[in-house]
């Protein structure tokens, strides 16, 4: 092993010492940044964030005091966080209220906080008068200045992108010129992080506000749809009831020509009622307010009542509406919703079938009942089949819905209602041969 000369030895020791110091500093920076990041992740208010940041910065870097102020309403700087320190406590007492509520107007001259904010450049001062000037009277400040051991204060702008969001300051018990390069570099990095963190809080606050407003608007919309639907349903029920009463002969004999018109009116009225019902359902689905009153139901009975309401539509198109229940099936379901599903599926089948028949069947399979609605319509192309169950989707888009009527909501509603009752819906379709929609319901 070669002998090392004393001068060389000293050089190496010095070098090692330097490296060691750098390591210690780097470690300090890492710890500081880590702490700041952790604060960033857990806080949700501007107050928590700024207080957490300034506390960590002053304690890690051994400053005497620290403070954060944020721009407010474009008119003033609001002091939002201060550290527990002698100077801050004194200032608080002199102001006569909590320091972390005080505001400084942005037109204030000779205030270093405002100046830093306006110019976006770091400032240094040895005179605490420059900080507290508008908040505390000159004489009192002089008293404080004589007593305090603070020698200098550095004020950094908090910038994010193009925008200056506020300032933070740290006060030292020594001259600012004595600060190491390391300290200055750390403070610059902290200033950048401060900008990101405050911007993040601002965004999440805005989001929360917008979200709240949206929720209110949405609730208002649901209430409106619900009320309007009710208001629309009542007269439609009265019209339908009157027409059916006349058609069934309660008001005297009805001539063939008259019957034709009344039946047309009745069928249109039923269609309108169904539309309103669908809107009401949609608003409940969207508001997640669908409630299911699950009771044992005789499927044949519910289906008969449902088909009764749409049979005139089938008759108008000269389609056969065939009802083929296989056995007495008792399902666990919500009666109104089950009726809606059957009406929606069968009315759809009638709407898209030009000739032939619509067949309603049901059978038992294991613990479930399968219901099928089969038509002899033009069928649905494979690429369109999944789209069907989405909101406002109809095969061929809007053009088709204008021609065929309807809102494209029916199958979306069916899917939601069926799934809400623990069932599934799917279809089988062959082009030009017709479609069959199946759905399942739990047996009682």
């Amino acid at each position: 092993m070669a002998l090392v000369k004393t001068s060389e030895y000293q050089r190496i020791t010095k070098e090692l010492y330097k490296k060691n110091l750098e390591l210690v500093n780097a470690n300090k920076v890492l710890t500081l940044l880590q702490q700041l990041y952790r604060i960033m992740m857990v806080v949700s208010t501007m107050e928590e964030l700024t207080q957490g940041f300034i506390n960590v910065i002053t304690s890690t870097l051994k400053f005497r005091s620290g403070m954060v102020a944020i721009e407010k309403a474009g008119r003033q700087l609001r002091i939002i966080a201060v550290t527990q320190s002698e100077i801050n406590n004194t200032a608080s007492k002199l102001i006569g209220s909590s320091l972390s509520q005080a505001t400084i107007p942005l037109h204030e001259k000779n205030n270093i906080l405002v100046e830093t904010f306006q110019t976006g450049k770091k400032r240094t001062t040895h005179d605490i008068l420059e900080i507290w000037k508008p908040l505390v009277s000159q004489e009192k400040l002089k008293e404080v200045a004589e007593k305090t051991d603070i020698q200098s204060t550095l004020v950094y702008p908090i910038i994010f992108g193009e925008e200056t969001l506020g300032i933070f300051s740290v006060s030292l018990g020594r001259d600012a010129q004595d600060m190491t390069r390391f300290e200055k570099r750390v403070l610059r990095r902290v200033a950048t992080l401060f900008g990101i963190a405050i911007d993040r809080i601002k965004i999440s606050q805005n989001l929360r506000k917008t979200n709240k407003r949206l929720k209110q608007v949405s609730a208002l919309k649901d209430e409106f749809v619900s009320l309007t639907s009710h208001e629309l349903r009542t007269p439609l029920t009265a019209i339908g009831g009157s027409l059916s009463t006349v058609l069934e002969g309660y008001a005297g004999k009805v001539g063939d020509k008259t019957r034709e018109f009344l039946e047309g009116a009745y069928s249109e009225n039923t269609r309108l009622l169904r539309l309103v019902n669908n809107f009401l359902n949609i608003s409940r689905i969207e508001a997640r307010r669908l409630k299911f009153n699950m009771v044992p139901l005789n499927l044949n009975k519910v289906a008969t009542a449902a088909l009764e309401t749409i049979k005139t539509q089938a008759e108008e198109k000269k389609l056969k509406l065939i009802f083929e229940p296989q056995e007495n099936l008792i399902v666990q379901a919500d009666e109104d919703k089950l009726r809606e599903i059957i009406i929606n599926l069968c009315a759809n089948a009638i709407k898209f079938t030009e000739a032939g028949q619509v067949t309603f069947t049901a059978w038992r399979q294991g613990e479930m009942v399968i219901v099928a609605v089969e038509d002899t319509g033009r069928g649905i192309m494979p690429q369109d089949q999944q789209k069907l169950f989405r909101k406002f989707e109809q095969v061929d888009g809007i053009k088709a819905s204008k021609k065929k009527g309807g809102t494209g909501l029916g199958l979306y509603i069916c899917k939601n209602l069926i799934e809400g009752m623990g069932g599934e819906i799917w279809l089988n379709s062959e082009h030009n041969k017709g479609s069959t929609f199946y759905f399942t319901l739990p047996l009682k």
Binding site: R233, T237, S242, A305, E308, K311, R339
Partner: protein
């Protein structure tokens, strides 16, 4: 099986339930007319009231066999009528069929708790079905 057009047989329908007293409390006069026409043609005696106040007076005076009751009405609401009816020993046994479009969970459970026999959603039932339901309580 084809669904056949079910025209009611005016002579035989409800023959065995002849002359039951039915009270309809409903503020929509057209709906009142629809049911009074149908029920009368089935041979029943029908009383009608277009607000809850008159409805209560009629119920206590006539003691109907069945009562069809709307919910949203001027002056006294259907819920209040139902509550009053169920409090009075003279009227408390009358089956009350609530007939409304306010078919939300809240209203349904409220009326059931107050002792209503049925909740019929207006928009979901044909007059024929409602009449059948009314008559099913006449035994």
């Amino acid at each position: 099986m084809m669904l056949k057009n079910s025209l009611p047989n005016l002579f035989f329908l409800g023959y065995d339930k002849l002359m039951a007293k039915i009270l309809i409390i409903e503020d929509d006069s057209l709906i009142v007319k629809v049911f009074s026409t149908r029920l009368e043609s089935d041979g029943h005696e029908v009383f009608t009231a277009e607000d809850g106040n008159v409805g209560l007076i009629l119920a206590k005076k006539e003691i109907p066999d069945v009562l069809l009751l709307d919910l949203m009405m001027p002056k006294v609401s259907g819920l209040e009528v139902l509550e009053q009816l169920k409090k009075d020993p003279r009227t408390q046994k009358i089956p009350v069929l609530v007939y409304s479009n306010l078919g939300r969970e809240k209203e349904i459970s409220q009326t059931k708790a107050l002792g209503a026999s049925e909740f019929i959603t207006k928009a979901d039932s044909t007059p024929q079905q409602v009449v059948e339901k009314i008559e099913s309580y006449l035994k």
